[in-house]
Subunit: 327 residues, 2 copies
């Protein structure tokens, strides 16, 4: 029978959800653990946990031996969302009201802090060996996420940002955590240096492709599929890969129009359509899609030496799935 | 020559400061590391680092082998201060302007998050063995601090809080981190189960004594010595050990006066004097001092089996020093 990666994904994530949803039961004080649970009960693609599992499998480790590590990266990811949402003043996340809106900022700060600690607790449960390296990689992931978030905030104020600087930022803010997932999965699965390094690079390139695809979807997706307003990044005046490319390519009147996005700190909802057309005219969407494909190819290239066939197929499937996603 | 613990303290903390002050040099982005450095450059008693050192020495480990762990606990302590100051809306800390006031709340949230990660990074440097246990204890410290902070916030809203509940809160919010210092110092120093357990208890009792002494100093110290306004807890309407004891003991008119502190969410500066007199009249200061002495005695009792004489003398000195401090 043909191996179907999507079936593996559904099966393993179902197991994951069962354990993850029971992580906090009857813990006190309620004022701390109820908000933490609100976050844990939010749905998600569980991309990061699946990466941990597949990276362990890739080096012929057992998926069952890294479930707690998979929970750890999801907790860590959620900590970043909770604190980012405070900083970004975001009201909603994945269709649910954000923590600092549902409760208050203090509760959200504290719940985020506690999620970090719960993440480490969970991670340690799966550390039967290589503990120092695994915890170090995990911690480096946090450092880079903080650095990336700080750069992102810097870019908001700065007038000029290059595409290269943008890539450095998303490498830290998004790609580093995917890299962490792969490296700790591979380490806990018993991988050797070469395997860990290859999977780590896979995670990094996957993260870059993922984030630029995110930027594209923000303006090119259908509102129904995306589940949120189209053009949000432009409305908020975010310096995404698309806007930076467009500024680089445009001349004359077009350039003036694009500069307005930054000068006015965003555009109005009814202007999104015309900017989308401008992006298409300038070939910016095409360029960005090429970038996504390039990074995806680089990610796939790292999988050459992967021994475990099921993991290899699944990691390939995952990369292609993320590149072609509509939401 | 007689061994002088204060000399050991000064000598070892001087070494600590040298390394600690250089922790972050030329790291980017500046927007993240400058605020982190602002915190690192703040002075402090360095009580927690010294506890790590003495606990290692107590089991005949080398102080030099736990310097990074000592840095880790100071970073962790400072993370709690940065996030607590946001939650408490505090403008100043140790005479310096707080991070969210100097920069803004977003910067302070992110710097705090990064301090946690830097703390783990530093801790791992000293983990040549027992890594899982050490990192687990460290993480448990964070969990308890979060739980304690959450309880503290709960108490602000609740009308009635018992003295027992208050002790549970300070056990988590203050004592647990001192316990962590002792346990990781003892573990890294190569201590056995009994030694780790004894030192852990020492840290816990020391923390309880320390916090209640803090409550006493807040109203009984001299402003010049304390370096901040006297009666701050009462002005803010904080349910300290003193206020809870007083409410328990008082009757009639006195009780009505005390209830006003809670009903009005604090008192005015010019009322501090009369409340101090009331506390003294009710014997509340005496009771609290007895409690401090009890906890200090319990802390000292744990040191009976400590092998290393210098560590023993220093841990005794530290407990007595903290109990008798004027600031």
């Amino acid at each position: 029978m043909l191996f179907e990666p999507e079936k593996l994904y559904k099966k393993e994530i179902a197991k994951f959800e069962k354990k993850y949803s029971k992580l906090i039961t009857n813990k006190k004080p309620k004022s701390l653990y109820e908000p933490c649970n609100h976050i844990i009960k939010s749905s998600g693609k569980r991309l990061r946990p699946f990466l941990v599992m597949l990276s362990a499998l890739a080096v012929n480790g057992k998926i069952s031996s890294v479930i707690n590590a998979a929970i750890a990266v999801e907790l860590l990811h959620n900590f970043t969302l909770v604190h980012d949402d405070i900083m970004d003043n975001a009201d909603k996340r994945r269709g649910r009201v954000t923590l600092h809106v549902k409760y208050n900022t203090n509760v959200a700060i504290l719940a985020g802090d506690n999620l970090i600690a719960l993440a480490y607790k969970s991670l340690l449960k799966d550390c039967k060996h290589s503990t120092n390296d695994v915890v170090n990689d995990f911690t480096q992931g946090i450092v880079e996420v903080c650095e990336g978030q700080s750069l992102d905030t810097d870019f908001e104020i700065r007038k000029k940002v290059t595409k290269e600087e943008y890539v450095t930022m998303i490498q830290k803010k998004t790609a580093s955590l995917l890299e962490t997932c792969c490296s700790i999965g591979a380490r806990l699965g018993g991988g050797n240096k070469q395997e860990i390094s290859a999977l780590r690079k896979y995670g990094n390139y996957l993260g870059l492709a993922f984030q630029i695809q995110d930027d594209i979807l923000d303006i090119m997706a259908k509102e129904k599929e995306l589940g949120k307003k189209i053009g949000g990044d432009l409305i908020e005046g975010k310096k995404t890969y698309l806007l930076l490319s467009a500024l680089h390519k445009a001349k004359g009147k077009d350039k003036e129009l694009l500069k307005k996005v930054i000068a006015n700190k965003g555009i109005k909802s009814n202007q999104v359509d015309s900017y989308r057309k401008l992006f298409i005219k300038l070939g910016v969407i095409e360029d960005a899609s090429k970038q996504v494909n390039n990074y995806t190819k680089l990610a796939l290239k790292q999988l050459k030496s992967i021994k475990n066939e099921q993991a290899k197929i699944s990691l390939e499937w995952l990369a292609n799935y993320l590149t072609n996603r509509k939401k």
